[in-house]
């Protein structure tokens, strides 16, 4: 049995029993117990009040242990802040503040700590996010401890509030439009996270700190706990800002539901109620704790304590979409949320799928003002989700998109969803799952287009060479044989023609790439083999920048019905260095692609290209670092050992470092060039 997983009655007896056993174990296992409890405080914030109660009971039985635990927590807090683990640090601060409720920590010393936190807002020449964090750590602990602190030290608390309020009024909020999922204020404003939290705490204060959602097991032990002696927190100075400090990014609070969305069930707490904050915090914490194990995660989510008083399924769906749509990036990989939602549908088949369908409908209705990145994630989520449920969906409900301009968000969304659904299944399936009225939005059959294929192509230049090549490919020709066939291809850019015949010749590229890709069309593997086998020819033909661009152009002509194939071919060509990243960027912004510029596959390719470039740079930088460390270790060993032979080893390593240094510089310059191309071409389009 796990602490906190039973009814309230046995939770208390559980805790009492546990406290008894731990107290008995203290002489022998003290440091282990201290470590365990600190870890739980750090990593299981959704179980906060259960473990603070446990510590409270232990403190009542053993004052010294309570003192040592508080010291250990403060040490842990300092370590977390130094290591930039700010999210964990928030949980530690919250744990400490709840220990006030358990009579382990004296309220005035907690107030003093919060005074120090909020005084960080006076610091100058520090990033705003640093000041933000200390304010957040203070405010986000108040749902748990606000009542107690206000009762004991209301004057001091009022002062801290005044300082907080003036800070919140003067801080910059230019990040907000960048992080909002929708540009529209209706039906739910996307609020800046500190503003929202401030509003929630203000409301809580106005309600005289009456808070009914948080589970507080320590209330049942009040008679024991109030006999306990309390400890004072040592004065806590926030560690100073350093160059290596990295603070959490600001957020915008995602809201998609309110009490009107579930008229039958329990009322959803309002957006400025502290209950909403606590529920969302706890659900986010559960996901953070269990995201790698979707069955556990789903089980923990649906068994959230107090679930009968809130529309839990709505909260869960909202919190999951909040993470999925978070800008700039979700906390975890997108696919995790897809499978978590599927797992939840399995666990609650009678209720969750309906909420999810309602959510999908709402997201569809608001597509017009949704951030494009979020629309992309919505498309990927929805198509993957449908593929797990036989693509069942009431498409007719979305018939309104059929009469809209095809370039507007709703029809575009449906088209992209169907395209992704096809990638997970096959063309005919898509035609079968949508009503006939939707056929205009269905993707093209992903077939290969070979320009030399039919009789009318007899008159095309290079046609005979194409036939020749086809025969050669089929009889397993070598690269040399292909070269010699290509030699005879005339160059339409006659002026530049030289005898070697290997300057940029678009016709050569055309016949070669068209014919080869057509013959290898059967599958990805066939195409990859073709690229590998005739790599030499590709490299030669694509030697110049124009060559690279033309290879991409011809490939696109052959496969324009099969965006997925285009994406994987571009990926392979970059990885085998047939084309480089800058060539791909130039191609994406070229006039040939202007018609498809707003189709998502184009952006898929661009993002993938940028990612590959970045990964490449990081990889070589890492190799360089490792080589440097190896050298440093060798030097150290030499000074320890006084070994002559390592002089020679040094030499080889130093050479390697020099080579890697050059590699890093050249990779970084390629990366810079890639971004320059993208920005310049973008500017050209926008002006």
């Amino acid at each position: 049995c796990k602490v906190g997983e039973k009814s309230a009655c046995s939770l208390e007896s559980n805790l009492e029993g546990l406290a008894g056993v731990l107290e008995a174990d203290l002489p022998n296992y003290k440091s282990k117990i201290l470590r365990l409890l600190c870890t739980v405080a750090r990593l299981l914030p959704e179980k906060l009040t259960i473990y603070t109660t446990l510590v409270g009971l232990l403190n009542a039985r053993n004052y010294n242990f309570g003192g040592e635990f508080v010291e250990a927590m403060i040490r842990q807090l300092k370590e977390s802040l130094k290591a930039n683990n700010y999210n964990e640090a928030v949980y530690l601060v919250r744990f400490l503040s709840d220990l006030v409720n358990c009579h382990v920590i004296a309220a005035p010393s907690m107030v003093a700590m919060f005074e120090n936190f909020v005084s960080v807002t006076q610091e100058e020449d520090v990033p705003q996010v640093r000041r933000d964090w200390y304010v957040y750590a203070f405010l986000s602990s108040l749902p748990w401890v606000g009542k107690e602190l206000y009762e004991k030290k209301d004057a001091e608390m009022d002062r801290i509030f005044a300082n907080t309020e003036s800070y919140l009024k003067r801080r910059q909020k230019t990040h907000v439009p960048m992080l909002q999922v929708w540009t529209a204020e209706k039906p739910h404003p996307q609020e800046e996270y500190l503003d929202c939290l401030w509003a929630q705490i203000q409301k809580l204060k106005k309600d005289r700190w009456q808070e009914r959602h948080i589970l507080r097991p320590y209330l049942a032990f009040d008679s024991i706990l109030c006999e306990a002696l309390q400890h004072n927190l040592p004065p806590f100075t926030p560690p100073p800002h350093t160059e290596d400090s990295v603070y959490p990014m600001p957020r915008v609070i995602f809201r998609m539901f309110d009490y009107t969305d579930d008229p039958e069930g329990p009322v959803m707490p309002g957006s400025h109620s502290v209950e909403r904050f606590v529920i969302e915090e706890n659900l986010h914490c559960i996901i953070k704790s269990h995201w790698k194990e979707r069955k556990t995660c789903a089980a923990q989510l649906v068994s959230y304590p107090g679930k009968n008083k809130i529309p839990l399924n709505y909260h869960i769906v909202e919190v999951i979409f909040a993470e999925l749509f978070q800008l700039p990036a979700p906390p975890h990989i997108d696919v995790m949320y897809t499978t978590l939602l599927i797992e939840l549908c399995k666990l609650q088949p009678g209720s969750l799928p309906q909420v999810l369908a309602q959510a999908t409908e709402m997201l569809y209705m608001r597509l017009d003002t949704m951030n494009t990145t979020c629309v992309d994630r919505f498309i990927n989520w929805f198509s993957h989700h449908l593929s797990n449920f036989q693509f069942r969906w009431s498409w007719e409900d979305w018939s309104d998109c059929l009469t809209q301009d095809p370039e507007s968000p709703k029809p575009k969304f449906v088209r992209e969803v169907l395209e992704k659904c096809m990638r997970l299944s096959y063309h005919q399936r898509i035609l079968d799952i949508v009503p006939p009225t939707f056929s205009a939005l269905c993707p093209a059959n992903p077939t290969c287009i070979y320009k030399y294929g039919d009789e009318s192509s007899n008159s095309l230049p290079g046609h005979s060479v194409a036939l020749c090549l086809a025969v050669a490919f089929k009889s397993k020709a070598t690269n040399d044989e292909i070269f010699s066939i290509l030699k005879d291809v005339p160059n339409p850019n006659q002026e530049d023609d030289d005898d070697e015949g290997f300057s940029f010749n678009p016709l050569k590229i055309e016949v070669f790439v068209q014919t080869l890709l057509h013959l290898a069309a059967k599958s990805f593997s066939h195409s990859f083999s073709a690229l590998a086998k005739f790599h030499e020819v590709f490299k030669t033909l694509a030697e110049s920048d124009e060559g690279k661009l033309h290879v991409l152009r011809v490939m696109f002509e052959v496969w324009r019905n099969h965006p997925q194939m285009i994406a994987v071919l571009v990926d392979k060509m970059i990885r085998t260095q047939i084309v480089d990243c800058a060539a791909v960027a130039n191609w994406i912004f070229s006039s040939e692609l202007s018609r498809d510029f707003t189709r998502l596959f184009v952006w898929e390719i661009l993002h993938s290209t940028i990612r590959k470039m970045n990964k490449h740079v990081l990889k070589i930088q890492k190799e360089l670092e490792e080589a440097k460390e190896k050298l440093a270790r060798q030097h150290k060993r030499r000074s320890d050992d006084d070994d002559r032979s390592s002089d020679r080893k040094d030499g080889a390593l130093e050479e390697q470092i020099e080579r890697l240094q050059e590699k890093v510089e050249s990779a970084q310059s390629e990366q810079k060039n890639l971004f320059l191309v993208i920005f310049q071409r973008f500017i050209m389009i926008l002006t």
Partner: protein, 175 residues
């Protein structure tokens, strides 16, 4: 509801239990599978499996294509290679494949998030693999169980079929 639950006899275990949930990762545990054809002792195999970025995927539909597998598994990271499993005699897809990623973490994502989900209406199963080698794409088992829908001679109301093969092309219209 059990209101008379006695406190556990090993309560320290309950706290450790919570921690195990955080630290342990049962979805990454190695299953019983060991590649018998590969030799090498078990410890070495286990070590290699813990570093592998290749997955063995089974219970695919016989008609699932490389393209579908690429699409699904690309959601966990860049796919390096897909090797389709083939029936030894007929050289046709027979329900399994190998998916190789460029790095281990992407393969772990696939184990966490794709194992036990649907592809082509089949619940697929993924497992760590020691890495593809030529020859391993041929199924060792006698093909049994799944009959390709297009090879069926009878007509199955639920699954269609009935000799589509006679028409000479698969459901994608490719000969």
């Amino acid at each position: 509801m059990d209101r008379q639950q006695l406190p556990s006899r090993r309560p320290l275990g309950t706290v450790s239990n919570d921690l195990r949930i955080l630290q342990g990762d049962s979805s990454l545990e190695l299953s019983e599978y060991g590649d018998q054809q590969r030799g090498g002792d078990n410890d070495e195999q286990e070590k290699l499996l813990k570093e592998s970025s290749t997955l063995y995927v089974e219970n695919l539909s016989f008609q699932t294509t490389e393209e579908q597998i690429y699409e699904l598994f690309s959601r966990c990271g860049d796919v390096k290679h897909v090797f389709m499993g083939l029936d030894k005699i007929k050289k046709k897809a027979c329900g399994f494949c190998f998916v190789e990623y460029y790095n281990r973490l992407d393969a772990e994502n696939a184990m966490w998030f794709l194992n036990g989900t649907c592809l082509d209406d089949h619940i697929i199963h993924t497992d760590w693999d020691l890495g593809f080698r030529e020859g391993r794409q041929y199924g060792r088992r006698r093909p049994g169980g799944q009959v390709r829908d297009d090879l069926r001679e009878d007509f199955d109301v639920g699954r269609g079929g009935s000799g589509k093969q006679a028409q000479g092309c698969d459901r994608r219209g490719i000969h």
